[in-house]
Amino acid sequence: MQIDWLSFTPIPSLLGGMILGVAAALYVLLHGRILGISGIISGLLHPKLTDTAWRLALVLGLVSAPFMAALFFGIFPVVEIESDWIAIVIAGLLVGFGAQYGSGCTSGHGICGLSRLSPRSLVATLSFMGAGFLTVFVLRHLIGL
């Protein structure tokens, strides 16, 4: 194992992580719900009259976050997407299906679940991290993409 010191950002990552924690804490305290992005999005697929507006409001917040970051702080997010179109489609299908079948994603299981010491979320987080490590190993080092 070799550490990529040039890319390593412990302070911004810790700070950004704490902001994610504040958002998740505010969400459960104010709205009484788990801030799980996949669950909030998937609820829009079969919309009910009473819960569509708040889901859309949250999604709109996420989508407009880069604009608001530029507006308030002059921060422009770095988004590098190296995957080709086919990989993007396959990845999207797997992420959507897996989050739905596994009842959550990196936010719901990873951030909120670990914060509330849920054994289900711990198992889910270890599972998707393990699968992520394995997938990148196979794609980058065995197949050599």
Binding site: V63, I81, S83, G98, A99, G130
Partner: protein, 148 residues
Amino acid sequence: MKKHFGLVSQYAIGVLFGWGLIISGMSNPEKILGFLDLAGNWDPSLIFVILGAVLVGLGGFYIASKRTEAFLGGALHIPSRRDITKPLIIGSLIFGAGWGIAGFCPGPALVALGVGHLKALVFVVAMLVGMELCERFFSSHKKASDQV
């Protein structure tokens, strides 16, 4: 009035969460892949993201566990299941495989969509299709209340 405040709060928390993703570097798929590439040039930053989030989250969820009602009204919807099931593990493994292919998970994909990347839009559409396929054909095992 309260309903409108609720929507503003939802929006604001969405923005805040997006800022957390941007500042932590999680909105960049290449950084995620750098973390998942243990055998390559490894970027451990994501460990610090989780550490920061859980440190703060523990306090928030501890307070929430003492309450029965949300501060803006309404019951707390916190999943109570504790059983480890096959769908939980298989679904999470599939999720992780997709995460490892492109470095995108749902939150960061929405942020990247907001930056204007067409590939993020395609990812989000494919993700919605994946969710719908699961709902149509594989959802008999669970209740909506288990979703986090």
